[in-house]
Amino acid sequence: MRNNNNNNNKNDNVVTLQDYNNKVENQWCPGCYNFAILTALKRALVELQKKPEEICLVSGIGQAAKTPQYLRCNYFNGLHGRALSVATGVCAANPHLTTIVTTGDGDCYGEGGNHFLHTIRRNPKFTLIVHNNQIYGLTKGQASPTTDKGDRTRLQMSGVENYPLRPLALAIIQGCTFVARGFTGDIPHLAKLFVEAIKHPAFSYIDVIQPCIIWGTRSMNWYKERVYQLPADFDPSDKQAALAKAMEWEDKIPVGIIYKAPADPVFADRFRSEVGADKLYEAPPPDRSVIREVLNSYC
């Protein structure tokens, strides 16, 4: 009945990959590229020398959203589509946690589309990782918002008719200051992106190409033939250029940091500095005298 969360830490203070392993049976299909994301994420956390108890993963529902199960750390695995809202609440209550959302394209852009739009505007300090397999994996192969036009699925039997969502461009428009695309075909590069994103002092976002080997409409090879790394001289601070890159698909698919700008103040920081609050579970309720003071204005 229990999956032991025992602290695997050795006595020294160095965090290793092993600290992030747990004994939970993985439910993904053998060969699924979600494993690549899991590996890259663990490597990034080790590189950042974050302890499991400092991490808080938040997810919704779907294959991608199962990620927190397979990584020894704090997590909240909530409702389909709502991970961004939960994570915003987590950041509000405790800014010291390294909060990371692991979600799918259906979870984040479909059911959760409205939170995707508005969470970016709110700019809470956490990292959003979208496992974009362009399909609804867990529910057995319906089109997601990013499924390409014309692709046939288990539900869209004669082909998807909708224009595909371009999430990176949306994020740029919404004022996101760290927008990247990763690829499960290149784990070291992906891990590096994760490190950069987590280090970014504001909301950061990575859409990761993660072919679904069961229901996916495109093979790993299809992506491999198109994916290219942004050249060294690409300037991720140029918003218009970034927008153009963010719309690229079909023939060539850029990966890397597509847009990066100086971070704006993050959600709840102003409240925190003005009130002197830190972790909300340590905040005492207001003194009776304060309550009386407020009440007295109603005399």
């Binding site: 999956n3 025992n6 108890e53 909240f76 709502r82 915003t88 509000a92 209550a93 909300l280 579970y281």
Partner: protein, 607 residues
Amino acid sequence: MNKNDIGIIISGAAGQGLQTVGYVLAKALSRSGYEVFAWQEYESRIRGGSNSYMIRVGEKIAAAPIERFSIFLPLDAKSRAKYLPLLEDDGVLIEEREAAGREREATEGGPAVVTVPFQQIAEQQLGNKLYANTVAVGALAGILGMDLAVVNDILTEEFGRKGAEVTAANIAAAKAGYDLATAQTSAAQRWQLPSTSTSGAKYFISGNETLALGAAAAGCNFMSAYPMTPSTGIITFLSAYSRKLGVLTEQAEDEIAAINMAIGASYAGARAMTATSGGGFCLMTEGVSLAGMTETPMVIVLGQRPGPATGLPTRTEQGDLLFAINAGHGEFPKAVLAPADARDAFYKAARAFTLAEKYQIPVIVMTDQYLADAYSTIDLDPDLLLQAAAGAAQAVDGAAQAVEVAGGGDDQLAGNAGAGDGAEYYRYALTDSGISPRRFPGQGPQLVCCDSDEHDESGHITEDLQLRQKMVEKRMHKLEALRQEIAPPEAHLVEDVKIVLLSWGSSRSAVFEAVARLRAAGHKVGALHFTELWPLPDYTFAEGVRYYTVESNAGGQLARLLRGEYALRLAGSICRYDGLPLTSSYIVQSPVMTAALGNGGGMRHAQ
């Protein structure tokens, strides 16, 4: 004519300043030491229409709405026509003679008329039409025989930030209205209030405000919400006092985000709340279920208004009782509370947080537009405040407490669960009480894992169906202890009665007033009033009594609930569903009541 319980109605169009007139007067009355109860009726628009601000005042009054009034001051012709029928024959009508389209309907034996040309005075004596409303306030103060000094204080507080000149002009305007009204002596003396002596601090405050303040006092430090009448006032209040009270408030993009943010914040250690109305609550129900499954404490305020759908957005109703109790898919424990009035809202808000933290459940607090917006004079006892805060504080360290409870169960388990840093920790440890040790992520080396799927004790997804059964039982088991501490209905004069009225939430004062009136007329009637509606505690209903529910809805939802829980046989329901609050007159004069009393309408005279 009862000078100790006077009804005043002021009417006008939205945007005309009606609310300021009413509020200044009511607050001045309250400050003067009277008991004041004020409520509003308004349309869903920003300008125009016909709204009213109603005040009941006296030395000792029932804080309940009434249907007819002794003093009427209309600010425009349209609303004058609408509300004039509500003026008592022996009342007084204060009006601006000059206004077009107004016919003097007062006749011998009918209402007295006091003429105060508000606008003309404002323009001619104060140089600006804007002061007309304050002239009206002054006139009302005159009729009521108030001490103008108190009115001046309130005016200074309200307009002080606009500068000394504006304040002085307002004070002069009030005096002009006062003088003109008192000059018309015969009419003016009719409704002069008896003098009263102020005793202790009294607060003139609304249900939304007491609820918000009660929540903050209980340690609420996070509120996310999406605006929706009549609950918007709660986040508006907490935003205004955000820094002072230490409450982080956030307007969400929709109600789904609002509840999920609150759940996230609560998981990470905040005391979190959200507030909405019916339509928004619909969207939150999945989140309510999530809070139930993940055992995340949180408080949801459901400010009811008449449905279905958008319905009557600015009116009142109690139409969501069964929906709230059964809200969220699947089965999980929750508590549903419904404050009786603004004072109760303060304590119930604190109680909601206490129950939420103790049982790690969602708690729904049901109010309605009437309760949310109504103002009343409350003599809050600081010691009672202290008690409420202490009650809440008891649960502040939810984690520690839960560990103790858990310790009562399985020793080996409690050993693990309760141990300090570095030990094994199971968020959903199976315990005797069903309550598992709660910790917050980042609080120590223990990992806090919460899951929306069915999970094992550590919080990981499970497909073990025997464990599933245990987890259902663990969660549902919390309901049993919770039920033990839920308050039974408040019994009001139920000894030896043959008829008992059953009611819930905001209608208490109206129902108890109806009981008083019925008893005064010689009928043996009592009442049982519920403010804690789920789970319902064991309760024995006296035999040989006819039970009637009194509800602000069409479906008789309380009746259905009580039948479902107690298999109680009911004699009938008195239901109101026109968007207005229940009043003692409505209850006393309802055909069901009349039939119940078997006197063919003996109570049909107006209040």
